[in-house]
Amino acid sequence: MPPLPWLLLALALLAAPLSLPARAFAEGATTSSTAPPNPAAPEKKPLPPGFEPVKGGEARAAQVDANALVVAAYAAFFLLLFGFVLHVVRTQARMAAELKELSSKLDRLGKG
């Protein structure tokens, strides 16, 4: 059977963490009731509803040359468009040539 002092020590160790929140709550209650709010202290900024705005974005944006961006955007539009048109035209030309060749081969075979 364990001696009584060891039992008391074990109980004290178990009870110590339980007493911490209660003490913190009591301290918070006293400070909030006694200390007046400090107007000089920085107010906590409320969190945005779901997204953080880009930090320093406005300053960076002001230095950007809009002309280059617009030219790049329209160049990309037309490159993509003409690239696709060129791809379709070249594919069709290749297929048309192959069709012609195969048809003439089959015709020759039919005549022969």
């Binding site: 779901g50 880009v54 974005g57 950007v64 069709l99 195969l102 081969k105």
Partner: protein, 230 residues
């Protein structure tokens, strides 16, 4: 089948090229600059029509073709789906390139992980995946690509409404809500019309590629039957 492009397609392509030239002239010489964003706002006139080309044309066309293919297993539906996927990739690439360039000036960053931007990226990547699956997945590839195109259609609905439900960095639907000044609205709707005609011409041309491929496959089969090919 005739290997020459139909005269009507050639005429419509010429008209759309003229309209594209006129649209660029209107954007830069006939439409005033926006008060807050300035010159960079000019990207809007091609950015939004290409986004609509992705959301309202390319992806729905791919989905319609996919439903038709899954229901009938007819190759013609698959060709429509394939054309829709390619157009969605082209229009999606336009959006994903022009958007960040506009964002660099408007937000100070090329890219932010906003819901609209991220879901658009996922949409375009799913279209690219459709194309890859169709080309390399072997048997059952067309069915798998059709399934993915249907998923993309659901995602496109999410992309469209995401700016209403998740108010992030991307602006709301300015054009749809009539928030444009009349002189800007005129140019914008002209650009939309130009993009619609261009998309129609591209679809027709792309469907002809599918028809030529099908005719070529039939000829190859005849050659094999005749013992001229392995």
């Amino acid at each position: 089948m005739s290997t020459k492009p139909p005269p009507l397609l050639m005429a419509l392509t010429a008209v759309s090229a003229c309209m594209m030239t006129a649209a660029v002239w209107m954007i830069f010489f006939d439409t005033p600059e926006e008060r807050v964003m300035g010159f960079v706002q000019k990207i809007f006139y091609f950015h939004v029509p290409s986004a609509w080309g992705l959301l309202f044309y390319g992806v729905p066309l791919a989905a319609v073709g996919s439903v038709g293919y899954l229901a009938t297993k007819d190759e013609r539906w698959d060709r429509i789906s394939d054309a829709g996927v390619e157009l969605a990739i082209v229009f999606g690439s336009m959006v994903l390139v022009s958007g960040p360039l506009w964002g660099r000036k408007a937000w100070g960053a090329y890219w932010v992980w906003d819901v609209r931007l991220t879901s658009t990226l996922v949409l375009v990547l799913s279209m690219v995946a459709c194309k890859i699956i169709r080309g390399y997945a072997g048997q059952g590839a067309k069915t798998a690509a059709a399934g993915l195109a249907l998923f993309a259609l659901l995602n496109s609905v999410f992309v469209y409404y995401s700016v209403d439900y998740f108010r992030g960095t991307h602006p709301t639907k300015v054009a749809m809500q009539g928030k444009l000044a009349p002189e800007m609205a005129r140019t914008f709707w002209f650009c939309v019309l130009t993009f619609m005609l261009t998309a129609g011409c591209l679809t027709w041309a792309r469907l002809r590629t599918g028809q030529l491929r099908s005719a070529l496959d039939q000829l190859h089969q005849r050659m094999t039957e005749a013992g001229l090919e392995d």
